[in-house]
């Protein structure tokens, strides 16, 4: 089994080592891709987000993290509130591997 494991690992290592070759063989290098959000088809909050995306990447990144965390927390508390009313014991469990 150890011999088989060694062979499998060697195979993965060989494939992994060849990856940069695949990438380089792909052709000419491209320049940095610049994406611009289309603000013409959206309005309200979506327009604000699209504008921030186009003008201030740092502010956009901060907004992305803050809004994701806040939305996750709101949904988490809401679901917790609902689940607590199911009558299940949601504070203890047994650890069984088999």
């Amino acid at each position: 089994m150890r011999k088989l494991l060694r062979r499998v690992l060697a195979l993965f290592a060989a494939i992994g080592a060849s990856l940069p070759g695949f990438a380089w063989a792909s052709g000419e290098t491209a320049t940095n891709l610049v994406v611009v959000a289309d603000t013409r088809r959206v309005s309200g909050v979506l327009k604000y987000i699209a504008n921030v995306y186009n003008t201030d990447p740092w502010l956009f990144a901060v907004w992305a993290v803050v809004i994701t965390a806040v939305w996750g927390a709101i949904l988490g508390f809401l679901m917790d509130f609902i689940m607590e009313r199911s009558g299940l014991d949601l504070r203890s469990r047994k650890i069984l591997e088999h």
């Binding site: 993965f12 695949f22 956009f60 994701t68 996750g72 679901m79 689940m83 591997e97 088999h98």
Partner: protein, 346 residues
Amino acid sequence: MDWLYMYMPIAGVNIFWPGLVLIGFSVGTIGGFFGMGGAWMVTPGLNILGFPMAFAIGTDMAHIAGKSMISTMRHAKFGNVDYKLGFIMVIGTFIGIEVGAQLVMYLERLGRIDAVVRYVYVIFLALIAFMVFYDYAKAVQKKKAGAVEGERGTEGITWYKAFHKLNIPPMVHFKTAGFTCSAWLPSGVSFLTGVLAGFLGIGGGLFRMPALVYLIGCPTHIAVGTDLFEVMISGLYGAFTFSLKGRIELVAVFVMLTGAAIGAQIGTVATKYAKGYGIRIAFGIAVICCMISIILKQFGFSNSSAALILTTIGLMCVYISAIMFKGAAAELREKKAGKQAGHPLS
């Protein structure tokens, strides 16, 4: 049927939004059960729905951060999260994710990111699947031979025992997980899994969950909870770094999170009624299906790939939901019977 499509201003594509809710729900269920973000399903899923790969990766990162937050809150109440272990792993994860994300940007400039990401995915999925089934086969073999090891029962792979012998200070005791090891072990493992996470645009749970079990030595349930805590933090950091690089679609994140909030409850509560090896085997099967779907896509069989991944996600959701609802119904029946007998169970 235009109302079923939502315009994504940053990626510039019209997306079938019920597909986003369904992906969120499914990944919430599966991720909460296996202890990971579930990005290995989301990234190809978003790609199938029409997002370019780089956008699929960034969007995925933010979504798994929010979803893991919901699952972690639930796991924490069960006592499945070892915060000390989680915090120690955070630094290695952060550095690793940044290294991986830089690698993605480099490959994007080379113009072959889609193919390379898929190759790396396949290699590591194969490795994980092999490890899971090898562990199970070995555990069954040992059990048949009558070997019982320690309080966890018969185990297949016990590499963590060798790693625990590494006596490099500082040595740390992890109370919730129930073992002592060098702080360098979780730090090193988290760095390596972080590099893969940043590169593949996933929270890293796919690699960290088995690593926590096989290399660090966590019981499966603690690995699931602690890993989700890690995925939450690494996902938030990943969301920040990918937002800075302009490869994220926030609108899609919120739509997916709404579905994920419900799924996460089902998946997390299901772990209460599942056994450790049951979780591991289901995990291994899902990994194999995911690997085959990526291979199919690489060779141009996109429809077959999409069908396989959607079928896998669907069946896994049914399996996990069945465990949860069956377990919950039994618990409620037991409580009711206890009350009727005059001995209410707490």
